[in-house]
Subunit: 196 residues, 2 copies
DNA sequence: GTCTATAAGAAGATAGAC
DNA sequence: GTCTATCTTCTTATAGAC
């Protein structure tokens, strides 16, 4: 929806674009955006920098594509969490699990959640803020449905939950920890406190 | 201890170094390390880049100085939290408050906590990891004294707590929120769950 | 101590060959 | 579509004047 404006559905082109976005997302997440060069990205798929400028207008444009894909993921999470339509705490737990699976397994998603923002006033920044806001909205909606006293409680819970979840990317070890277990533990930590 | 090796205690020099570290820390925290240039730092104190290379060997050296100052802060927090020697949950709360005050009010501290690590294998990285480990030790020690069942619980609690605390830097608004209140709320969120 | 000037290199981006 | 070659700009860092 609204993502494909140009490049009229060429298949090979789409595959190549996806490959580039994958590489960029992976490097952005691991080295940081500013420290990742176009040469790095091209080398990562065994190509030269020229190819990047055939498929994307600029580095900012490429970064934007990474964000857009992460946003799509956010919407999927939202949809699946709402589909179940059970008790709201259970839905939040489901979304947290999906969120953590994506964060720990998908570099593009991790790049968004952990990445720093570009300077204020730039066009890129406005775009990214919009995307990130819509993404946070997923959790805002889920938490709104919880039986809590005040809006202040809700805001605070959202921040603490996202903070604890996102921080797991720092200490997570693929072969030792399980994203599902981590997410459940974190939600439980808060759940029984807020609604015993 | 072990910090002043060269520059035999010259007073004016120390003041200047401190001013530079302040500026660097502030910019590192707000724009990110890679996006902050030596020109930025010099301009921030109304000077030219040359001055930085008189007081520091390189950008990495300057970054290291920022980390070292943040580490000192960590040790101070640790000392003050241990001095009270009351119930361990209370000590943890005190440390969390100090931590958040520093995180939200001191750019050098924020630069460390939020900053990305340099590439593996570099000398700088080894230095920073050492410093960050010692800093995390502050919380590890405090949490070790809590009456919890398993070591797994302790590790998990430490990660969730630090995640929730550090994430507040993202949404904190100086004129609306109070660091002390935020820290207390976050500790309470976990405290009553783990030891009712 | 701090400045100016500048070297040496890296990064984003483009042009044109293939 | 992709590569090579290159331009321009920006960055770290140094040298030497003051």
């Amino acid at each position: 929806m609204g993502t494909k404006v140009s490049k009229s559905g060429d298949d090979a082109t789409e595959v190549r674009r996806k490959e580039i976005v994958d590489a960029a997302a992976s490097l952005f997440a691991s080295k940081g955006i500013a420290s990742t060069t176009m040469r790095d990205i091209a080398a990562h798929i065994g190509k030269t920098p020229g190819i990047l400028y055939y498929h994307f207008k600029s580095k900012d444009d490429l970064l934007l594509a990474v964000h857009q894909r992460a946003e799509d993921w956010g919407e999927e999470i939202f949809a699946s969490a709402n589909k179940t339509d059970r008790d709201p705490w259970h839905n939040l737990e489901e979304a947290s699990i999906s969120h953590l699976q994506a964060l720990l397994g998908r570099p593009d998603y991790a790049a968004i959640v952990g990445g720093r923002m570009p300077p204020k006033g730039t066009e890129l920044r406005r775009n990214l803020v919009n995307i990130r806001d819509r993404w946070e909205q997923v959790f805002r909606d889920l938490i709104d449905k919880l039986p809590l006293k005040s809006d202040e409680d809700k805001k605070f819970l959202r921040m603490a939950l996202l903070g604890a979840l996102n921080h797991s990317a720092v200490w997570y070890r693929p072969d030792k920890d399980d994203p599902d277990v981590i997410a459940k533990q974190i939600v439980d930590l808060i759940r029984y406190r807020m609604s015993p």
